[in-house]
Symmetry: C2
Subunit: 296 residues, 2 copies
Amino acid sequence: MTLKQLEAFYWSAILGSFALAAERLFMTQSALSKRIQELELEIGVPLFDRSGPRARITDAGENILSRAEQLLSLRDEIVVAARGPSGLRGTCRFGVSELMAMRYLPSIVAAIRRDYPEVILEPRVAVTKELLEDVEKGETEFAIAPGRSLDPAVISEQICEVPLLWVASPGLFHEDRPVTAEELQHHPIISMSEKAGSTMQLLDLSARRGLRFRRVLTTNSPEAVAVATIAGLGVALLGGPFVERYLTEGKLVRLAVEDRLQVPDLAYCIHWRAENSRVLARKLREISRDICLAGR
Amino acid sequence: MTLKQLEAFYWSAILGSFALAAERLFMTQSALSKRIQELELEIGVPLFDRSGPRARITDAGENILSRAEQLLSLRDEIVVAARGPSGLRGTCRFGVSELMAMRYLPSIVAAIRRDYPEVILEPRVAVTKELLEDVEKGETEFAIAPGRSLDPAVISEQICEVPLLWVASPGLFHEDRPVTAEELQHHPIISMSEKAGSTMQLLDLSARRGLRFRRVLTTNSPEAVAVATIAGLGVALLGGPFVERYLTEGKLVRLAVEDRLQVPDLAYCIHWRAENSRVLARKLREISRDICLAGR
DNA sequence: TGGCTTTACGGTTTTCGTAATCATT
DNA sequence: AATGATTACGAAAACCGTAAAGCCA
């Protein structure tokens, strides 16, 4: 039995596919397949059922999964324990939504650099859904993004709440009373892709209230949305911090809207796979959480 | 990092020497040395201090020792968990004193055969001191022998007590009163080697009381001692069960002795290295203990 | 057919033991 | 001198990737 075999088994079990596991471990399917066969030969029991379209873990495999995971995390701990606390090395991929990146990524990176100078960081800034999918697939160790994952294997711990504001160019609405849904529907909605947290809230709202919005300008940059809104292209639903500056400068105004247009605050969470017990991942996740909770 | 490297590290640390570890792992010093060097290169910290006459573990090495041990025992557990409870395989070396072997070894072997048919047993029957040394050096997983180990890393759990009896041929002593030390010293003492439990008690007695016994017939077979005693060659101090049969047959008589010749009962224990957490070793040790405690 | 897994094969890398060398008592 | 650890080197084994072949939807 070797650590490589156990690692191959572990990721094949977690990702539910040899192909994905091979990709994650930077090797070919062929090599990974053989590793797992050798492990099965070693312990004398099949760990995966190959009869279906993809490899499915067997009962025997389930029985050893948690132990394999413990064993692999002990391997990481050994390195840390030997080198001392600041000797943590390795690479950590994690995801951050654009808003959180804007606010906290510099602090997070600085703190990690200070405590663990040897660690190589691979942060990824993307939209909510992509970040969550990466965590679910084990591509990233954790992600800071709004909402909850539907995958029960993913733990989401709330960090903060961010209000979503309806904003528009100052000239667009003149009445003092709250804007109604009908009035809003006359204008194009400027939003990001359907995988962005704010857009998901928007779609949710339109589904619940039976509204139809005309969305324009496909982009994944909230800044581009803000700029387009300033230009008077339409109205937008954006996270407070993105528009704060423009509101104080008077380039955008916040729209008061009727109750049925109210959107709940975005609950930002830190998400990670429950069974992930890599020391490096846990430490960096905790640092990131603390920084977000402390508000810098 | 590989399991082989960790195993090499573990045994080098436990046995305090590369040479012994290499012997235990059935490989050459050269190969083991290189394995450990590779492990050190991997984690970036020296695990052993080679400046002395033999390799001494460093602080960094101490820090990871327990984790390495946990990791290695997880490896064993994985096999067991995958194969199911009776799928335990592997080889187990253990030591048994001759008396305990006579009484319990058949039952122990039968019970293990029944519960773990795949396990290969390598029992060793020897005298007390050899058995304890084997446990201390990690040569055997556990031993059933009288007395306690002086090594603090060895745990000894008492199983039973066996009386040591002074015996002689019926013709040797005629008086009804207890035999005195002076009378006893006139006869040769038939005993086993100094590494045997009963002989150790004998030597302890002679040291404490300032007696000088004339020991003859060097052997490690209690049966040979009994036979020689029956032949009238001298007196012997033997474990009760060895002489029971001869006493009832009248071939030997138990000598009543004065107080200063009284020898305490031999406390038989099961001994094992505290840090040994091999699943196989633990299970078989527990089976053996239960059989001894139940008296078959 | 197309995604996923296994088999076959070769070339590279790793690993190990022998033998020689170094270091410490 | 003797024990224990390291280095050098050649042989054997393990490992990996490419390419081809099976296998199930």
